[in-house]
Symmetry: C2
Subunit: 414 residues, 2 copies
Amino acid sequence: MNAKIIAIGDEILQGQTLNTNGNFLAQKLTELSFHVDKMCAIGDNKPAITKALNESIGFYNLVIITGGLGPTSDDITKKVLSDYFDGELIENEIVLQDVKKFVEARGFGLNENNRKQALVPSTCELVRNPNGTAAGMLFEKNNTVLVSMPGVPFEMRQMFDETLIPLLKKHFEFPTKCIKFVHTLGIPESVLSHKLEKFEAEIPDNISMAYLPSPEDIKIRLSAFGGFQKRICEQIDELITKLQSILGNYIFGYDDDNLETVLSRVLKENKKTVATAESCTGGRIGHKLTLIPGSSEYFNGGVISYSNEAKIYILGVKEQTIEQFGAVSEQTVVEMANGARKLLNVDFAVAVSGIAGPDGGSEDKPVGTTWIAVASADQTIAKVYKFGSRRDINIRRAAASAMHLLLNFIQNKM
Amino acid sequence: MNAKIIAIGDEILQGQTLNTNGNFLAQKLTELSFHVDKMCAIGDNKPAITKALNESIGFYNLVIITGGLGPTSDDITKKVLSDYFDGELIENEIVLQDVKKFVEARGFGLNENNRKQALVPSTCELVRNPNGTAAGMLFEKNNTVLVSMPGVPFEMRQMFDETLIPLLKKHFEFPTKCIKFVHTLGIPESVLSHKLEKFEAEIPDNISMAYLPSPEDIKIRLSAFGGFQKRICEQIDELITKLQSILGNYIFGYDDDNLETVLSRVLKENKKTVATAESCTGGRIGHKLTLIPGSSEYFNGGVISYSNEAKIYILGVKEQTIEQFGAVSEQTVVEMANGARKLLNVDFAVAVSGIAGPDGGSEDKPVGTTWIAVASADQTIAKVYKFGSRRDINIRRAAASAMHLLLNFIQNKM
């Protein structure tokens, strides 16, 4: 089954808006076993929309359009679709009630613009929108199912998951499938793929494997379509068990996990608390940890010790340590971690000190050199990392590596 | 002049990679006065690439393709282009020397794969790549200029600016233009556009204005194409002067500015230092400030006081203050700012305490309520903000608002 994704919006073509909807839909449709052949962004005008429909209907099993459904006059998608699919715009009672409920919950009454949003082409199936006033539409013609949804990302995403997937299941027969992700960190892609050469060669033919690298992790995706559901999931679980024995604690999570959610889970489960002492990461670790709702349960806080004075007077690093070994050194980062642990009265602390660049490097300690330490009451360990030359990437990698070292340290203690 | 942007890559169609190249090129081409009619992503295979060429050549003045130029076998773009434009792949001495220099600088010798990268279609103009081994190509056919560049974002971006723009200027006659951006914060879009109704009505016909909103700011873009360069820039400068008198210090920057670069400039110019005390923003302000190279010159550090204990024992907030007024209150945030200023021995400190959500709200202080204070030796001010219900957006808005309040405070003192 092939699919095409179309975004309508001049703001995308002028580079004002990044087309994240396309990326979301590409992921979701691939996971549903569609083969996405093409993604496009086109202008918010009748000729462009009509041309896109002509190039799509009859050529793809599924076409998803986002955007162009707002109440203002420059959003003309609904009218073009209604004409194209031989319908007429009529007021839909379900949509009217949805819109009414939506605006009333915000303390407003129904106005003319809202009322216009209840007009829906007579030839479509409704795709209800739980988060906004623009309803989605599903049409069918020449063996193509075409879906139109609003472009506001959080409305569109929830609609896709909650109201569109059940409709798609009525129109398409999806093969059985199993897709799982394994998240790794601390091992470069070239070393990882070398380590997994034998593993890859032995993967059954019905299962595909892909590496998805980012500065913060490398994900391994294992996927199978078709066959008995239970069997393919067992096959993939067996492969994951194998990966665990090959990669050990380079693996930090699975599927929707990330470092902050895994840390959150481990800290909550074990009722432990944590603190940070950040130099080159400048607060990024604290920021990441506190993106998780309820993180105050285990994160007491941290110190951004960007100056030597902050390291000395707040964290209690010895002046002599910095003089003798430098701010980016095993000795300093160990004292930072111990200082943060005591200061914030926590079970575990993580500390980072590195040279993010572009300046500050030396022959001994080139830009990218980063020391990370983690401490508990009875043990402190430290490790040096050599990142690259780009400041922003170094900061991201240092923060992720610190969270990973902290996670492994805690898991070893529990 | 119309343009089309094509990204080649299965990783985009499967949702593994967000197509940021398209967004970059859309911005740049719009600024060059091209009208981008279409952006697409297609698969890394001969039929898809050939179809895209057939749909583009003769229909657009400019087509830019990114991706599909790596040394591995699944990157077949170069061969397809060479055939399509009636050329043959021949070793290009300039590219060979570029590649050689590039790999030797990294301590490697030329291998078979690198040598293949020096093969270039005989019918193209070269677009040199200062940052990698894949050269770009420019072809011309049926009044369409087609450019192919590698997909690695930082290679492509530098190529576009440094080597492609001069080539495009040989093929296209660009109109004169003037584009300027004014960055505002602290005023919702609806209020902003209301405040600027009269201003907008009086804008000369040759100048366009657009609002570009994000959670962290609202940019106003003023642009003019055609006419005498000096005249249109003067027109836009006059409009900016008008905006300054209407919007005052809701404006925090221009063009490529952001809050951290403007703060960096102001702090460096005045040789002042700054510190942070962050509760709900969890370290994001520190992270943002330290993204700027050389920020250690003015940023001494900060405290992430996520728990009441951290507020009391590190920042010196009085226990009684928190008991009486709560952690999210004017009194607490003022004591946080004063505490951070003294603790980190700086000229200015900024403190944030808010309810990011989803839990922790009350009737009195609903989710989104955020107190921000800034302090110097002789003055401390505090302000309350009411953000929305989404945790991640609240954190971003709180951090940006805190940096904005800090900036205004410093500017008033200087």
